[in-house]
Symmetry: C2
Subunit: 500 residues, 2 copies
């Protein structure tokens, strides 16, 4: 192997080490840190981030990448080495195109915007947040201008989270999705509602925790290479392919939170744990994109965890765990209850059938403000109009409307669509998996997940960041990201549950 | 303030941040890390260590230190700024005098030596460890040669852990201590033994933990700036003056382990938490030396925690916590039991009266092998002879003799004496504290520790690394480190307990 390749690998391994250290500090901050530690932790993170940035953007790294591109010109474009250089080059461009002044201003603006958002939300006064959001949109436009022109300015923002994905693609996908999903929701609204009151009884913390652990152990979460803790906002973090940790949150008055949250985070973790070990400390480690990541978490949470075969296996043991709460609730009633559809105001509380509507609304707004067809000051009205149109509900105030999400206050524009794309990809993969493993439902009914996990490892996990998301989905399913499988999935599932 | 001073401060703040990050990674490794994370953690720590070393030893840091020494030539030698530069200069010298080749060889040799030591101890065969220890002694001599000649070669080794301390000083201190301590031990051996069988009953984990927490909360451990976890080897670590964490180990068949271990680590933590907040992210943060640190941990563990006034306050609640185990054990019996003296083979299990004998033996051996008057191959025999002479017991094998401690296998020569010096300093400070706070025993009897903690903060903690250990002790007590107060303390305490 080329000497320059080894040099680049060594330099980027140090960057990976620094990012791994920063991830440990971040995990500790959310899971363990006493309040007194906050200021020092901020300083340590800033120093780690600064050094990692300097190392990742050094001239030496840039020169090695250019030299290796020339050196590898005739090599197999799908080899790990060529892909390593391609991904490294992409990361290098992202990190070097933006000026240090912009980065510094972005940090200051978003810090202030976050404070303003907290206040605005607590008072439900959009005007407090508005000037900050305008500044963030302005910075977003400046960010776009650092890169070569694309078909649409929003492409540049999207590309940070979904490498290679175009605004036109996402729009086309969502255009095909929206009418079908609206139609389904109208049909559900006209059907008799299912009962889920039994999910809101008292469920003691420890039994919820233990049940979640027993489920993800069967999924294949490797406790020798990870652990679970509690945190207010559940998340997955990876310090290495062999140290991938998850957190969960247990609500004693709502069974769903820990139950499905634990499966969701486990889905993320299985992805990170399944990356080719040879990619450790290289740019090829990690997930292909946020949408592909979300496809994994949503698959284990919903396509597996909210399915009837799954509960045919697990429900007896859940009933044994909570006899007084669920002893008189039969399997079918339970299955319907955990899948109850109800248009609601808050994205993070949305069910499978309504979730994507929340995302489409946000995507349209983001595109609108980036291309200038919408003004920030009009967002509360636009938000409420679209909520009425898509979900049939109107927020009583902005706190439950346009101010509900943290993302924009942190400057994250282009992020939301990945949540919906993840749902679509999960169903697209699921059709292919079921074609390849025709007895999958029976396996799940027996509590067996090793064939499913093996398939995901082979087709998705092991590749890490080697392929761009559209490329990966095409490689596995034969077509790019497509809404049709998800529409089929939702329609079949909820027609059954609601007797449509 | 000088611009160069601000520059140096900014550079060393980054070094402090990197060390803080490394400390978080180290804590996580011992408290939380799943086994799979070990390799990645080793890489991340190596990268952090390497970058911190490069930054701490940069020419720019060296130049600024020299410039500032000149600039501050006429300034108050006790000002924080002058002391900052002095300590920074000392750290810089320590870090730059040694060649990178030596550092690399030391890492390799000690890694192999550690493995050999583990095997040697498990088989109780000194010959397996001997060639490795010889190599380590050789490296120790090379280390000494990097520095300007001192009165004794061992000074250089000692100076790493006890800045400014001389071999001649330590020897003189221990010469005055040894005969008195041997005499006391002989008298105790002739007296009837006390009973401590009740300490070895079954004490459930949770109650032990909770009792320890209630004690150190009264000591003044600040839970907003720290936390306690479990680990196989208890330790204290600091990521910041405002994030100082301790660990403990609970043995259900021996009450002393968690009880006194928790107080011991709390003593270390109170020191780190009490450093002047202005020293955060500077070389002045931390403890003055290992001996001063140990004086704090041993004071809370022994002078406070193994005293009669302490148990006059806490024993009723301990009895309530463990009624079946201690309900019929009266205060005086309990007090004698926790202070039982019994010459033993293993240092870490030694009581207050015998502990220093274990240290003196090790110090004499370290000095002997560094100056060449003892050969490594003769150590088992030398060890056993001295054990017989000092403690009246002879190890049945080398595992319980010369092979018992991990320190030498890690290349730590010059470290052991700090344990005994810490004991001496604790008693020396204690005499001064009692002179300044004449009702201290009564306060402790009422469970009040704020005047004691306030005194320690004012006299010891807030100064951090500003003063060298001998200088600090002199400043507080009017004399350098002295064995007499400790001898007085031991004699009084054990004469009472054993009716001598």
């Amino acid at each position: 192997m080329s000497e320059k390749y080894e040099q680049l690998k060594a330099l980027l391994a140090e960057v990976a080490d620094l990012n791994s250290a920063a991830a440990v500090l971040g995990w500790d901050q959310q899971v363990n840190m006493p309040p007194g530690g906050a200021e020092a932790r901020g300083n340590a993170q800033a120093t780690l981030g600064k050094i990692a940035h300097i190392k990742a953007t050094s001239e030496e790294v840039g020169r090695l990448i250019e030299d290796l591109k020339a050196e590898f010109a005739g090599a197999d474009p799908d080899s790990d080495e060529v892909r390593f250089v391609k991904v490294a080059s992409r990361d290098y461009d992202q990190a070097t195109k933006v000026t240090p002044e912009w980065v510094a201003e972005f940090a200051v603006v978003t810090a202030r915007a976050h404070e303003a958002w907290v206040e605005a939300r607590s008072k439900s006064e959009f005007s407090i947040f508005q000037p900050h959001l305008e500044k963030i949109v302005e910075l977003g436009k400046q960010f776009v201008a650092f890169f070569p022109p694309s078909d649409h300015p929003y492409d540049i923002l999207l590309d940070q989270f979904e490498p290679g994905m175009k605004t036109a693609d996402v729009r086309a996908i969502f255009e095909s999705l929206r009418p079908k999903q609206v139609e389904l929701l109208r049909a559900i609204a006209d059907a008799p509602q299912v009962d889920d009151s039994f999910l809101h009884l008292h469920y003691p913390d420890k039994q919820q925790w233990d049940f979640g652990v027993s489920v993800i152990t069967k999924f294949g979460y490797d406790w020798k290479r990870g652990r679970q803790d509690k945190s207010p906002h559940p998340f997955t973090t990876s310090f290495s392919i062999n140290d991938v940790r998850i957190t969960t949150r247990v609500l004693e008055d709502f069974l769903n939170s820990a139950l499905f949250g634990t499966m969701h985070e486990c889905g993320h973790a299985l992805y990170e744990m399944g990356v080719n070990q040879a990619y450790e400390r290289t740019p090829l480690n990690g997930g292909a994109s946020l949408a592909i990541h979300e496809s994994q978490s949503r698959m284990w949470e919903n396509l597996v965890g909210r399915s009837l075969p799954f509960w045919e296996h697990f429900y007896p043991s859940l009933q044994q765990t909570f006899p007084s709460q669920l002893g008189n609730v039969d399997l079918n009633t339970f299955y319907k209850g955990i899948n109850k559809v109800e248009p609601s105001l808050i994205r993070v509380e949305a069910d499978e059938a309504t979730y994507n509507m929340h995302i489409m609304l946000r995507l349209e707004i983001e595109i609108g403000i980036v291309e200038g067809s919408m003004a920030v000051k009009d967002l509360p009205e636009i938000w409420n109009t679209k909520m009425k149109e898509y979900l049939g509900v109107v927020p009583p105030d902005d706190a439950q409307g346009v101010l509900q999400d943290i993302h924009w206050s942190g400057g994250m524009m282009g992020y939301f669509s990945t949540y919906a794309l993840g749902n679509l990809v999960s169903a697209q993969l699921w059709e292919k998996i079921n074609a390849d493993l025709p007895d999958l439902a029976d396996q799940i009914r027996e509590g067996k997940f090793d064939a499913l996990l093996g398939w995901l490892r082979e087709k998705v996990h092991r590749h890490g960041r080697k392929y761009e998301p559209q490329e990966l989905v095409q490689k596995i399913t034969g077509s790019k990201i497509d809404a049709a499988p998800y529409v089929r999935y939702l329609t079949r599932k909820f027609s059954d549950i609601y007797g449509l």
